[in-house]
């Protein structure tokens, strides 16, 4: 037999050639992403034109033409309005924001007590930051501190009336502080309650199931505005005269229950996505209902619906602005109040400046939540890679 010294397969790899010039480099990136088809090209050009048209004006208004210092409205007035600025000037009036910054943050919380709010904020961040960073150990202790102990600390510090701290009634609260209190309570209450309601709705026990369905559908069936309205205006007529419920408490309960109903449906979506095999696997290991849910089903289901959960949180964060209609002043409410009620700062630019500031603060919070949820999704994305 003749020896084959000839291989049928190449023994060494062909050297990789450089990608064609048309496929790499900035030119290729532009072509691929911005000018792939004629339609794309047209859209790109239009979009660039729109940016070129709007961006300089925006930057000018917000930064370059803006007024940064001043004591009252005259700082932001043009000569024809009785101020110093050239006629036709338009720009942000930032001294309005810096002058009222304390109110935007704390509402009418007494000046000399504001350290209590700041301290609460520091404790909040000190507990939240390690909870969000996956590398930091002792998550269990941290979580208990944040979700169970912190509310008590915050309550004693913010409300006061104990240990020599003067009592600060909630109508004096306001600004970002109220927005964060409402959101924190909404988030901390709605997630566990939502999970329970979702499990209740999928339960085989008829009464539990019925009650869960009734709660979820009733709450989802009415707008939050209606719930707040009822709590604020109708409730006082039903209870004996002279008796008042704390308005903030009413709003907290309303917002939390409302978010819980939405959360329940988000979590139920996750539960439905878990294959039957997972339940049966858990059963075959001899796990009870709570073990099965806690160790097998929920970790997978919640991971699936992180976008939905965060979506609900962000929606709720923004819904807190609705408490304005029951005369509670969250960040947006305080900004509005200062715009409409305060002649010391009444200028043509004040309203715009105030709203831009409020929008920026809301954007920072919502964008932060959204980015963190994307980070968590990637981190927890084990076994579902596409």
């Amino acid at each position: 037999m003749q020896e084959h010294d000839m291989s049928w397969v190449r023994t060494e790899m062909a050297l990789a050639e450089q990608a064609p010039r048309s496929q790499v480099g900035p030119g290729a990136w532009l072509r691929r992403n911005l000018f792939a088809t004629p339609v794309d090209s047209v859209l790109t050009v239009l979009a660039l034109l729109a940016v070129a048209w709007a961006l300089p004006q925006m930057l000018n208004w917000v930064f370059f033409d803006a007024v940064w210092t001043g004591a009252d409205r005259t700082a932001c007035l043009t000569t024809e309005q009785g101020g110093q600025l050239p006629a036709g000037w338009s720009g942000a009036c930032w001294p309005f924001v810096s002058g009222r910054f304390g109110q935007f943050m704390f509402g009418r919380y007494p000046m000399e007590e504001r350290w209590r709010v700041i301290l609460t904020g520091i404790v909040f961040i000190a507990l939240l930051a390690p909870l969000l960073i996956p590398r930091v150990p002792y998550k269990g202790v941290n979580a208990i501190l944040f979700f169970v102990v912190f509310p008590f600390i915050a309550f004693f510090l913010l409300v006061g009336g104990f240990f020599g701290l003067p009592y600060v009634e909630t109508p004096r609260w306001g600004g970002l502080m109220v927005t964060l209190v409402l959101s924190y309570v909404g988030i901390v209450v709605s997630l566990p309650l939502g999970i329970l309601l979702a499990m209740g709705r999928r339960s085989k026990m008829p009464i539990v199931k019925l009650l869960s369905v009734i709660f979820i559908e009733a709450v989802r069936g009415v707008p939050l505005v209606t719930v707040l309205f009822m709590a604020s205006f109708m409730l006082p007529l039903f209870v004996p005269p002279g008796m008042t419920f704390d308005k903030l408490l009413r709003a907290l309960i309303g917002v939390a229950l409302f978010a819980a109903a939405y959360m329940a449906e988000v979590v139920r979506g996750g539960l439905q996505a878990i294959p039957k095999g997972q339940y049966e696997g858990a059963d075959s290991l001899g796990l009870g209902y709570w073990q099965k849910m806690g160790f097998i089903i929920m970790p997978q289901a919640l991971k699936l619906v992180i976008p939905g959960i965060v979506n609900t949180f962000i929606g709720m964060f923004k819904d807190t602005t609705l408490v304005l209609i029951i005369s509670m002043f969250d960040l947006l409410g305080v900004v509005k109040q200062n715009i409409s009620g305060d002649p010391t700062w009444a200028t043509p630019q004040t309203a715009k400046t105030g709203y831009v500031f409020a929008a920026a603060v809301f954007w920072i919070f919502c964008f932060g939540m959204s980015r963190y949820s994307q980070f968590m999704e990637r981190r927890l994305d084990t076994g579902h890679k596409r």
């Binding site: 309005q81 009418r108 109508p171 004096r172 002279g242 008042t244 109040q337 043509p348």
Partner: protein
Amino acid sequence: MKHIAIGILGAAAFGFMASAAAADTLSDVKAKGFIQCGVNTGLAGFSAPNDKGEWKGIDVDFCRAVAAAVFGDGSKVKFTGLSAKDRFTALQSGEIDILSRNTTWTINRDTALGLNFAGVTYYDGQGFMINSKKLPGVNSALQLSGAAICVQSGTTTELNLADYFKANKMEYNPVVFEKFEEANAAYDSGRCDAYTTDQSGLYAVRLQMASPNDHVVLPEIISKEPLGPAVRQGDDKWYHIVKWTYFALLDAEEAGVTQANVDEMKNSDNPDIKRLLGTEAETKIGTDLGVSNDWVVNIVKAVGNYGEIFERNVGQGSPLKIARGINALWTKGGLQYGMPIR
């Protein structure tokens, strides 16, 4: 804290006690140590928080005056910001003791809603503002036939406007907005020829216009909006205190008693001033009312007389610069008339 605790514990335990005591507001107020006053959440010159978060305005100062009359201390008052919708509920349910929230005195509110108005702290009325650059030569609302008029929806303003133009057989074109800011912006950008709302509001709007000096408030007032403080019906004692606080503010102005000279005035020999300031021998004017005899001194020390309150909040001492007009004393051609304290 107490409020939250009550809220949690529920109606049963506390409800009855509260309802039994509700008919005597003065005792309630004295027991809790402060007056709860309902004000607007933010209306320039009437009630709004300042830099430090303290409430300022005519309506606010009136409540401080009542607190000064009752406690001798104008700071013993707490404010609740109320929307137009929840203001009457708040008063009826006892959440507040005085409603001082730019509320128009009407017969319906006196009878059907069960309120008692204590007086008129500001005679307001719906007016028009125009841009004199755009409409030169217009100096009366009767020349506005065919004009586009910016107005906020769902207010009596809108109805008054319709009535006025119908009564004068004129055409107009309403441009309706849901929000105050939207109406402002539309008027400023020239979408409407005229802007209509309460006159006190027009002065505040004018400050936000691009060129305020071009805008003119027309002289016509097309509706009566007497704004004043109100209390619950069925508690005459409390009603009298609030009502006479109002008259005392006017009488103090008429007698020339101001925040600055009130201590001097106590030595005055003028019998009117002696009666007013409670320096007459064996006077019972204050105690009959249920307050101390130097109640007017306390009021004037705390907030000044009516004229001082007006000038400080909406008049020349404020950015609004509203003229006294019909809010001047009756001796100066206005409508403010304080009943005699004797």
